[in-house]
Amino acid sequence: MRLPRPLCKGLLLAAACVAAAGTQAQLPVEKLGQNTTLPFPPDPHRSYIVDFEFNNMVATRVVVVDPDQRKVLGMLSTGGAAPAVLSHDQKTVYTADIFFERYVRGKRTDVITAWDTSSLSPRWEVEIPSKRASTLTERYGLSTSADDRFVYIYNFTPSTSITVVDSKKQEVVNELAIPGCILNYPAGERRFASLCGDGKLQVITLDDNGQEVNRTATRFFDPDEEKLIERAVGNGDTYYFVTTEGHVRGVDLSGKKPKVLPDWWLTTKQERQEGWAPGGWQLMAVAPELNRLYVLMHPDHAPHKWEDPSQTIWVYDLKTRKKVDTMETPSLVWSLNATSDDKPLLLGTNIEGGLDIFDLTKGEYVDTMDGVSKTPTLVINH
């Protein structure tokens, strides 16, 4: 839009305009900036907020932010509250989208979309079976193998299965039934685990063509005695699960068979008596360089609070399994994730759509990016 000279003439300020033109260089003509990109490799603190958009759930998004600059960097438009995961080489964001031909009706098409992390544009996509689980988005509904060769998509129809996409061939190479089990917790280059309703952990090993070569089932917990929250957190090939009461169950998936680690409690007996227990959506995070675990905790535990937000985060040393710190935030935080660099941030999505930022070097809350999303269920980092 350009109207400086006519505007000058039309106004009593004409003299001032002329004077200004005479003493200052005119601003140069500009071109519309196109094809802008984000730097690669991405800053280690770059964060991707998966926005479920509960008041819509058809047209959804992933918001990309720089938490250090408190700046929105861009976004991805996703379909049907798509889960999202980042590739290990930092080049790709995968989303598992559902689209309908006529927005909410007509033919359903499910796709894996491979977005470039610099251009934030789709680089390729592949159609997948129309079975992708439609749930509140969580970490292990969509994952990748350690070498990024395979993408695993969790299906729920309500039969459960995993679709395997070969990112090299850019095609679906397998669908593996996982009856009675859910999700895909990736381990190494060719293995993933699923959590089963009978208390076992099922591990499937693939070959380089995505075909199953081995399947094991290992006793992991007693579902009649405790509620083990499926929203675990991974640290390499080791996963930490927690019960609604705060009992931690870890498992090392790096070997052929899962190695169940010694269990431990987030709380002392006295703390449990006082009412302390974990709660939230993606309620745990690990900062690998600090070897620390961060958990959303409630001071007034009740069975139905297991998915409630909190303002309190307890910090654990994973080596000693001892609580080492507490962090507080003014917001009600629902989901956590930590960056994997040596000066890590903890990011927490709050229930008003903001992103709470914690400096883990100092062990304290720093700031909140208010209103960057609507209903953020998940935050993920490179």
Partner: protein, 175 residues
């Protein structure tokens, strides 16, 4: 279906709260403890408010556009009564999914426990009115039929969630 109704309900309460967030949480906790201990009892006895709102019917007390209505003891989602439907019918142009999960609620008028199915109405996007959460014993997702973090529009032509109804399916037999 539950999804983020919790978010909204609690956000609203938070905004409405004139006390600190901590006290807000404390009050919320008390509410939930009561709900956990007595899942079939109403937090507020509204028997006296019988014959309210839509389809007034003796013996079915309460306001079906209110989260406190007795049949909603396990509901999670947007109430279809606020979305163009009723307590047991879907809004125009939406399709009810027969795949669902059920709860048991006590009618304060007759003291009988009824089996209620919480069917999702589907095929239009989120109604976004009257978000309501009255949790019962939800289980982790490996017990899917006791979990409401799942979109239960699975049984509809399009798995696009609009709202939830609460249909009486029978009387719960003791034992």
């Amino acid at each position: 279906m539950k999804f983020l109704d919790r978010f909204f309900e609690r956000s609203t309460r938070h905004v409405a709260s004139t006390t600190s967030r901590r006290r807000f949480l404390g009050r919320l906790g008390s509410f939930l403890v009561a709900g956990a201990a007595m899942p079939v009892l109403l937090p507020v006895d509204r028997t006296a408010k019988a014959l309210a709102a839509e389809s007034p019917q003796a013996g079915d007390p309460g306001d079906p556009t209110s989260c406190d209505y007795w049949r909603y003891c396990s509901v999670d989602g947007f109430l279809c009564s606020c979305c163009g439907g009723t307590v047991n019918s879907c809004p125009p142009g939406t399709q009810g999914s027969e795949v669902t999960w059920v709860g048991t609620c006590r009618n304060p008028a007759d003291g009988i426990d009824y089996i209620i199915s919480y069917n999702d109405c589907c095929g239009k996007h989120s109604c976004a009115q009257c978000a309501c959460t009255r949790n019962d014993s939800e289980e982790p997702m490996y017990r899917p039929f006791n979990n409401n973090d799942i979109n239960w529009c699975l049984g509809a032509d399009a798995n696009v969630y609009n709202c939830t109804v609460a249909v009486i399916r029978g009387v719960a037999k003791a034992g």
